[in-house]
Symmetry: none
Subunit: 245 residues, 2 copies
Amino acid sequence: MMFEIERFEQILAMLGGDRPVSVREMSGRLFVSEATVRRDLEAMEKRGVVRRIYGGAVLVRQTNRDVPLYMRENEMTEAKNIIGKKAAELVAENNVIIIDASSTAYHVIRHLPENSNLVVVTNGLKVALALGERHIKTLVTGGSMIDNSYSFIGRHAESLIEKINADIMFFSCRGVSQDGRMTDTSMEESLLRQTMFAHAKRKVLLCASSKIGKEYFFTLGTIDDMDDVLCEKELPESWQRRLQK
Amino acid sequence: MMFEIERFEQILAMLGGDRPVSVREMSGRLFVSEATVRRDLEAMEKRGVVRRIYGGAVLVRQTNRDVPLYMRENEMTEAKNIIGKKAAELVAENNVIIIDASSTAYHVIRHLPENSNLVVVTNGLKVALALGERHIKTLVTGGSMIDNSYSFIGRHAESLIEKINADIMFFSCRGVSQDGRMTDTSMEESLLRQTMFAHAKRKVLLCASSKIGKEYFFTLGTIDDMDDVLCEKELPESWQRRLQK
DNA sequence: TGAAACTTAATCAAAGTCGAGCACAACTGA
DNA sequence: TCAGTTGTGCTCGACTTTGATTAAGTTTCA
């Protein structure tokens, strides 16, 4: 006998190969009827984990649902730590800082000085939690919370950012193409970042080297518009020249 | 004969393998009836250690155990759980719910149905985190975060509430005097609650019995203006009469 | 286009599981 | 001793899950 959630996990594993899997195949491999597989898929679709297609299903790999944030937190932690440390060095007393909801930016927090009268504005729930633990004055945008990513988006979030005059902004995105375009899978989050750009004097892209060369559907700007690009390694030669200006 | 605690530990050990275990199997290995196992599981679920599934149970992964930690510090968890369960019973499909940042209201969340299209609006960061874990659609007020309490206050928070039409609101406060005045130590939070009152059709005070008779400096209203007052015990006679109306 | 092949949702019955309530025994404290 | 309490098992009606069946819908391909 197998429990429902075990089937869920197996189905997810089967779909992990990025290819659609047929109801028939799942039914065969799980030793349950197709009706049961369909009911499972229906439940999983409701939770936004899979998308059903005629005859089968595929994994939802779009916006933020693909890899939960807490998973990403563990990737490249070393790189992000190095970047976080560099970033924190740019912060001065009494600064007002914007930090987005990315996991890279999250790693800046532990390096922030604790008693220097900072104010941090963020749209990330876990970022806010970490700031609270360090007793740093925090403003949170609020808004609609994205499932699995614990970040806030939407008009309400923007309306707070629009009132802010920040000294410095730390953010990240999913990918940065070779030619310097910053891209992401979430349009809503990207739009919010663009609003943040307009309200921060100094914009700092935190770019773990693993992101270089990757490209996603939404472009939120180019590195030319940034004031700094921090990476745990040397940046590509061509970027360095561009950033000189 | 075996003590309850011993069974709890054995059950936890069985669940440690990361796989669900059936009630039948536990019953067999512990030499007790399935009814007893179910009662044990019920108790353990209340404490948030295991999650029951149809036919068995799984261990609750402790990834975000930091959340309930501060909640657990203060006693009365059991009382709050009872109240939380009662509260969740008032919720219908598709409801829009306001939940404040209090720890009592926090305990409502685990009792909320998971797939019923709810929308929850809250000013509590940890409340939002718990909602996210349950994949419930969540709006967060944002605003200025109060140190050590992880709740949001201020004009920005109010501005979101003002746009909401909620079916029901769950909240709590520090103390409720014998004569039915709800009081708290935080004026800012109390003001936000008053705004919430104006935007919820049904206002439900979650009042653990330990709060009755206590009084703090700021009064945010009286129980007469509430639609329900939930307590883990019987309410005082005089209150019951007042609430009849 | 239209028919064949296939997939799906709805419905039903059977098996399994659950919660509430009762009975009983062991224990507690007067 | 006795009434009250607690923990356990049992029973039974209610609920859930599952696979089979069937009608309706979708795709394919000539």
